[in-house]
Amino acid sequence: MNASPAAVSSAQGIWLVAERELSTKLRSKAYLISTGILLLIVLAGVIWAGVSSANPSSTPVAATAATASALEDLGGYDVTEVGDRDAAADLVESGEVDAAVVDDASSATGIVIIADEEAPQGLLMALSVTPEVELLSPDAAPGPLRYLLGIAFGLVFMMAAMMFGTPIATSVVEEKQTRVIEILLSSIPARVLLAGKVIGNTILAISQILLLVAVGTVGLIVTGQTEILAGLGGPVVWFAVFFLFGFILLAAMFAAAGSMVSRQEDVGATMTPVMYLTMIPYFLVIFFGDNPVVMTVLSYVPFSAPVGMPIRLFFNEAEWWEPLLSLVIMLVACVIVIALGAKIYENSLLKMGARVKFREALRG
């Protein structure tokens, strides 16, 4: 009789499960296509931003010899030099230029702006002298950048959580629904199976995010938009670290949610609370982005920290130790949630039929 080898170690088991998750996913056409589309969107966005910033639209303006050099110094104007006022007016009328700046001794400022139907505000502003303004509380109003950053981090976190969290839940249900779970559990402990699933899907999520970041970075460098990179560097690295643990947290919850039902049709019900947890940080950060108290709290709550903390870091509102403390809180939350998730998972996996009640799943 051929002796069978010793049982797999936990690490081997986890890796085998993770490897199966990876290879199944990487072979699925739907997954590859959606990843490709996402990459194209990022690439298109970066290139579009690059093209539009490299060629700032310049307004065609006509000018006489006396005013042309002043306009050219302003920049942003495509100056056509004309001989006199009438020639300038003709060009404006024909629509070849948006406006004309001609010298006029009778004007108080020494120049006259000729336009077709309405006064060109941009040109007026550029040629006007504005008084000095002193703001008493310059930081109170949130800049658009704050919203943009909140939306960007929030969207990436939420999308990734849904794109990679939902499949964890459905793959757990698939194993229950096809009853393959009984064979799996007769071969490896439930915790090993759970860990393998979480790790496999986390690797997928992180590598897809890294791929997106890499494409974005290369795109920014190629199109010469390096200033954005320099400012974002630190917060993005923190975002990645927080994202990693935040995703593990959510993955364990998605797995637990999936284990509580026996059919794909029912998975929505148990997954909804987890979905809310992934969406809440996104909305809170957008709605309360300018409220320093709420933002500080958000940057410590494990579910919103991946979005909240990098934003505070970007605006230099957080002390150096704050992300570390938040990360520790996150790690503790991870351990607790994984332990709870594993318990629900172990207790629910072999219960077929009706949805397992939350309390029952925890008690076992």
């Binding site: 069978s4 080898p5 010793a6 049982a7 797999v8 393959v180 009984e182 490896i188």
Partner: protein
Amino acid sequence: MTSGTLQLNGVTKSYGSRRVLDDISFPVRAGQLTGFVGGNGAGKTTTMRILLGLLVADGGSVTLGGSELTGDIRRQFGYMPEERGLYPKMKVLEQVVYFARLHGFSKADATAKATALLGELGLEERLNDNIETLSLGNQQRAQIAASLVHEPEVLILDEPFSGLDPIAVETVAGVLQERASRGVSVLFSSHQLDVVERLCDDLVIIAGGTIRAAGARDELRERYSAPRWELSGTGDVGWLRDEPGITVVDFEGGSAVFDADDPAIAQRVLRRALQDGDVSRFGPQHPTLAQIFKEVIQ
């Protein structure tokens, strides 16, 4: 590697206040096919899940070769659950290889073993097809392969023959017998009593969560055979009705089935029958498994 007799000792299990297993004890001997027979809801699947460690018993113990089962030993058992299921979108070979690797085989060994086993089960041409494209019978064969691929010393199969055509039943039976002849302990449940009767060396009959009968097939037949005899011959056997110590069960022309109080009385009947003419058949009648089953579960 641990092997030997798998023994259940006084295993009990309740779901809430409902007791589903009550003091279950029986052996599964190494190198033997043990048939596990019982009605729906009798407790077969629960017993098997406890053997596998998928459920925890409330009381009692399970030993293998005399020592208490540990999780690691249990995980080397081969198991085919009652509800069939494999990953629908995985290829047959890949799937069986995956289960072999979960049991600790290297990728190369797992592939070699899975290929050979799937061949033995007649699936050599479907190795690279997705499970979901196979017929139900072939899915069942793949399922059996998944439970056998790591060459377990203990094999526990819940209804391995259900849904198989007669040819497939023979193939699977052959594979199981071959494993048993190599010293594997095989426990399987089935509602196909004729198959169980033909294949199994040992029988366990469960009903209502208690073991009603357990032991070697032939021994059980002896034990449960009523003192029943059959007699066929050329002469008319109508006189049997008046014979003392005899109860006629069935009677038709020259043949009869009767219960005798004592083997000596049966011999006396034979002698008497020979006086009337030739006897073509005479002997004790062994009950079929179906008959024993009906008798013990009542």
